[in-house]
């Protein structure tokens, strides 16, 4: 089952449209069908997908064609705006009680990640706000749930209140709050046991705890991989407790996370945080716009559309770029690039941002670990300043020295230099405005030389034909993106040169 991304889908649906200045109703319906399917594939609940499409349809029909955007871009923009809107236009902070303590209660199904979230959130408050949180362990059902919270508390030096598993959770909460009052803790977290929203007995327990603790914040924790069932879960918990916010966990997976939209729509409550990894620091505030592009599987193309709109004259920008061109891409630039790429996250994610690359099966072959970057860095660091500026200096003897210095085999050093040269060539092409996207992209990808990074180059090559943006809208956008990237390199270079002088 090949998952196509929405961009290529819409492009297929709208192939016959390019050049037309207006979207007809028939064209629109076909496109909307594709969008609906993309939403369903992302696990957006059926009913919600349906109402969403209806809203987009209404807007799209009434919309005037914006200057500089072709019909497919226009529809993507409407879809994205609508999606972002529906998920709450901006991040919502944690509720805070006017007088201490602020009580935060967790709720959710089994295995959603409540305990982990409690630890992450408490840690965040402790570090960012110098908070003195207390964690109450009220999960008396799952074996070792209390030990889990205790261990986390110990690791983070945050106190945990527990009374073992033989005491009723209601009593534990009462006693825990009393202790928080005495100790003057400013935040209290209540970690509850996972439960099904249809389990009346356990839901009653939650309601009772809610009455006892009168929490300022009731956070529903939901697994981002949840399917169509997300609405039922969210509805169940919201009806029983009146949740105040949502935490979406396990977003570091490759799920599209359509559940986010479903939950938001059904409960009307904001998604406040997202869990993105197993470390205690892997908690981020929720960005509706990022989630929107993720659900649609469109990578960063949306933000590029936004930018195209703002930069009225892309031509002018290109001219500027030409002026800036200097064909002197050296190892310092290369190092710079490496660092930037590392800052942007894992390589796979980066590639996914390129339109048409998300969900590309060939992408699975590109396995670039953080270590590969570290190795490349080590090699560059083992060069003399002169060598970094002029790669032509690198004689075999020097290469052997660099290999010894960086602790890498000579083969790696050679590969890296080859990659570097390819990259430089591509730079040259681009800054001279000759490289159209397909050629440029190919060079860039070979610039990341998959063979050096553990992937098969043939498979990487195989990826090219599926690249959907041969000219047209996608091509233009991607072209633009590349140019922007190079502009950035040039800027960094200038800065560096200045510093040197």
């Amino acid at each position: 089952m090949a998952f196509e991304n929405l961009t290529s889908r819409i492009q297929t649906a709208m192939k016959n449209l390019s050049g037309k200045g207006k979207v007809s109703e028939g064209d629109l319906d076909e496109t909307l069908r594709e969008i609906r399917l993309a939403l369903l594939e992302a696990d957006v609940n059926l009913k919600i997908a349906r109402s969403f499409i209806a809203q987009v349809r209404e807007k799209a029909l009434g919309a005037k064609v914006l200057e500089g955007l072709n019909p497919s871009e226009q529809i993507i923009k409407i879809v994205n705006d609508q999606l972002t809107d529906m998920m709450g236009a901006q991040a919502v902070p944690l509720n805070k009680s006017p007088k201490i303590p602020t009580v935060i209660m967790m709720a959710g199904l089994q295995g959603a990640g409540k305990t982990t979230t409690v630890a992450k959130l408490a840690n965040k408050l402790k570090n960012d706000n110098h908070a003195r949180p207390l964690l109450i362990a009220a999960d008396v059902y799952r074996p070792a749930a209390i030990e889990q919270l205790q261990t986390l508390g110990r690791q983070l030096s945050i106190p945990v209140f527990d009374e073992g598993t033989d005491v009723d959770p209601r009593q534990i909460v009462k006693d825990g709050l009393k202790q928080a009052d005495q100790e003057k803790n400013d935040y209290v977290f209540i970690d509850t046991a996972g439960r099904l929203q249809i389990d009346e007995l356990l839901m009653q327990e939650l309601k009772d705890i809610e009455k006892i603790a009168k929490p300022d914040e009731i956070l529903l924790t939901v697994d981002a991989m949840t399917g169509q069932n997300a609405t039922e879960t969210a509805q169940g918990f919201n009806d029983a407790l009146g949740i105040t916010g949502v935490v979406l966990t396990k977003l570091d997976g490759d799920t599209r996370g359509g559940a986010a939209l479903s939950i938001r729509e059904v409960t009307g409550k904001p998604i406040k945080f997202v869990g993105e990894g197993e470390k205690v620091t892997d908690l981020d505030v929720f960005y509706p716009d990022r989630m929107a592009s993720r659900i649609l599987g469109m990578g960063d193309i949306l933000s590029l559309i936004e930018k195209t709109q703002k930069d009225v004259d892309a031509k002018q920008a290109a001219a500027q770029l030409q002026k800036l061109q200097e064909n002197s891409f050296d190892f310092n630039d290369f190092l710079d690039q490496l660092k930037q790429v590392q800052n942007m996250g894992p390589m796979e994610d980066m590639l996914k941002m390129i339109p048409g690359m998300a969900n590309n099966p060939a992408l699975a072959q590109v396995q670039v670990g953080p270590k590969d970057f570290a190795h490349m860095e080590a090699i560059v660091y083992s060069m003399t300043p002169a060598e970094r500026l002029d790669p032509e200096l690198l004689s075999p003897a020097r290469r052997r020295r660099i290999a010894a210095g960086s602790g890498r085999p000579v083969i790696d050093v050679n590969k890296m230099i080859k990659q570097f040269k390819q990259m430089r060539q591509m730079m040259y092409k681009f800054t001279n405005g000759k490289g159209g996207l397909p050629a440029g992209m190919e060079d860039m990808l070979s610039g990341v030389d998959p063979s050096a990074l553990g992937a098969d180059p043939a498979q990487m090559g195989g990826m090219m034909p599926s690249f959907p943006n041969q000219g047209g809208f996608g091509g233009k956008v991607a072209d633009f993106a590349m140019k922007r990237a190079f502009k950035k390199i040039q800027k960094a270079k200038k800065k560096r040169n200045k510093r040197r002088k």
Partner: protein, 368 residues
């Protein structure tokens, strides 16, 4: 006899529920008690009575029925709603059918495929009345399900006598790996097996304690390692102990990991290699534990875990909720991985061997 015919037959049998129920229990026990007889003969002559195991499985059958009620009724409900709105066999009708299937997490591609096939079938049979259409659809659905599972083996594989069988449990975070092991270990211990658990989740806080607690409840032994130590080392120790002390079954609990995290997937491969190096035939089973509430991502999970550890079967947990677990159908179609067990609740007895016929029967019982 096709599965559909079998289901129709079963429906008729319902008139004498007592008999059917016993039959069901026997069916479910067949693979287990065969094994049990063997062990009893070899190891413990009549020391473990057969009775408790049987009554226990019987009660787990009850759970199966009760646990699935929610799942079943919501699918039946949705389907009946669809049929209630039935006016004519047209494009709209099939669109809605498609959506009903999608709402059960069946997945878009499969739903589309089924709906296309149905469209042909309904035309071929020239079905126009509501009843005819409904029957055709259900027959087709059952048929699709049956066909995809053709030749599937959902029994548990055991090692040759004298060697321990090793079951490796894998899956993403929070799906219920440890809980499943806790339940399954109890089941096998009651059958007279000597069971050992390996707490190879050295990463998550409290994971080892959780398994140790289950071991205490199940009265079985457990091998643990230090927090944050190499899980493969725990696996090594556990396999060694299982061989030296003649355990029948070793359950290996691993840390939850997301399938796109390469390093952790490699760690899993290493654990599997550690087992195979000591026992070339092992692990006899690599069970991927899936949360029934998971949507389309489950397919990706199945695919990537299969790649790294050669998964032999699935355990579908949390089926006692409102999720329909329709993704199983997609996994069946795509990867031909059989579901071997289903988790239906939090109690130790809430685990049942998966019976495909029964699952489908549960889904469609009220409709045929």
């Amino acid at each position: 006899m096709s599965l559909f015919d079998r289901l129709l037959g079963r429906k008729k049998d319902e008139e004498t529920p007592q008999k059917t129920f016993l039959g069901k229990v026997k069916d479910a026990l067949a693979p287990l008690s065969a094994d049990e007889d063997q062990t009893l003969a070899e190891n413990k002559p009549a020391s473990t009575p057969q009775k408790p195991a049987e009554s226990d499985s019987a009660s787990s059958e009850d759970h199966y029925e009760a646990g699935l009620t929610k799942t079943r009724s919501s699918f039946a409900e949705k389907f009946q709603l669809l049929m209630a709105n039935f006016r004519a066999v047209d494009e709209n009708f099939f669109d809605e059918l498609e959506e009903t299937l999608i709402a059960a997490d069946v997945g878009f591609e499969i739903a589309l495929k089924i709906s296309d096939e149905l469209q042909d079938e309904v035309r071929l049979k020239n079905a126009t009345s509501k009843k005819e259409v409904q029957e055709t659809i259900i027959e087709k659905l059952v048929d699709v399900y049956d066909r995809a599972g053709n030749g599937e083996d959902n029994s548990m594989h055991m090692a040759a006598a004298g060697n321990p069988s090793v079951f490796l449990f894998v899956g993403v975070n929070g799906v219920g790996k440890t809980t499943t092991i806790g339940k399954m270990a109890q089941l096998y211990r009651q059958q007279g097996k000597k069971v050992l658990l390996a707490a190879a989740d050295t990463f998550r806080a409290g994971a080892t304690e959780q398994l140790v607690e289950w071991a205490k409840r199940d009265q079985v032994d457990v091998v643990t390692g230090k927090e944050k130590s190499d899980p493969a080392a725990v696996v090594f120790d556990a396999v060694k102990r299982a061989v030296d002390q003649h355990y029948d079954i070793l359950f290996v609990d691993t840390a939850g990991r997301l399938q796109n995290n390469e390093n952790l997937m490699r760690e899993l491969e290493k654990m599997k290699k550690t087992i195979t190096r000591q026992l070339p035939e092992a692990p006899q089973e690599v069970l991927l534990v899936l949360d029934a509430t998971t949507g389309q991502n489950a397919l990706q999970q199945a695919r990537l875990f299969k790649d790294s550890t050669d998964v032999t079967g699935l355990v579908l947990t949390k089926l006692d909720g409102t999720a329909k677990g329709g993704i199983v159908l997609a996994i069946r179609q795509e990867l031909h991985l059989p579901v071997k067990w289903v988790g239906l609740g939090e109690k130790v007895t809430d685990l049942a061997p998966f019976d495909a016929d029964q699952f489908v029967y549960g889904l469609f019982k009220d409709l045929i």
